[in-house]
Symmetry: C2
Subunit: 113 residues, 2 copies
DNA sequence: CTAGTATATTCGAATCTTCTTATCTGTGTC
DNA sequence: GACACAGATAAGAAGATTCGAATATACTAG
């Protein structure tokens, strides 16, 4: 059971391992959007965007609803937003660590004079 | 600011997008371990493992401590375990959805007779 | 049926990842 | 110093990912 679970996690991470796909998921945070709107909003090439959608669909991160000529995308499970939010906090805490480390080094440099 | 943050998230996901690296992170859930122990425990090739360690170090997911002839690895920030736990739940809820969907289809098939 | 709009798919080139094998570096022991 | 051990790195082949350009499909309007 562990092996398939690890594969699953790795696949989800793989699916999210691209800035454009992160942007797509984040844009859907507050609900569904038509493909065209996403493409405009994120400034993507149509074909490229569609490829990224396909990757996210394949991993069942996105679902789509067709209405006439348009395709509306949405997140299948908002839990992934939670993951992105955790990483945002992680990013800033890491930044803070780095900054205070640099400050300490700076102090050291000052002390030398 | 959004662009670098998305890149950061994508990089973290990329670093975790391999079953072996997931296994390494999970093995460190309860504290540091020497490289050799990880390698034995997970049944890895030494060189390959070392490359995976390097990827996780580069993204500052792991930190290492050298003691004589040995290198001890540990997670820099346990928040990533939280992310893995969220995905475990996500996996099971997806499984449950799939199973009940299959059951419904099964019922449909029965009804046809 | 034709034309137009929205989205998806296919193909190929460039780039990145992964694995294996071989080699290197650092540390401890005699 | 010479050797052994733990771990890191380098090189290259095989495979996966990414992108743009072209093409395909599906729906709508007239």
């Amino acid at each position: 059971m562990h092996e398939p679970l690890r594969r699953f996690k790795a696949d989800i991470f793989q699916a999210l391992a691209h800035p454009t796909r992160i942007a797509i998921v984040e844009a859907l945070r507050h609900g569904e959007l038509p493909a065209g709107k996403l493409i405009d909003q994120l400034g993507l090439e149509q074909a490229n965007a569609s490829q990224h959608f396909a990757i996210l669909r394949a991993k069942m991160i996105l679902v789509n609803r067709k209405a006439g000529n348009h395709v509306f995308y949405s997140l299948r499970d908002p839990v992934l937003i939670e993951v992105l939010d955790i990483l945002r906090r992680y990013f800033y805490s890491q930044l803070t660590d780095t900054v205070s480390m640099l400050e300490e080094v700076g102090q050291g440099e000052q002390a030398k004079r």
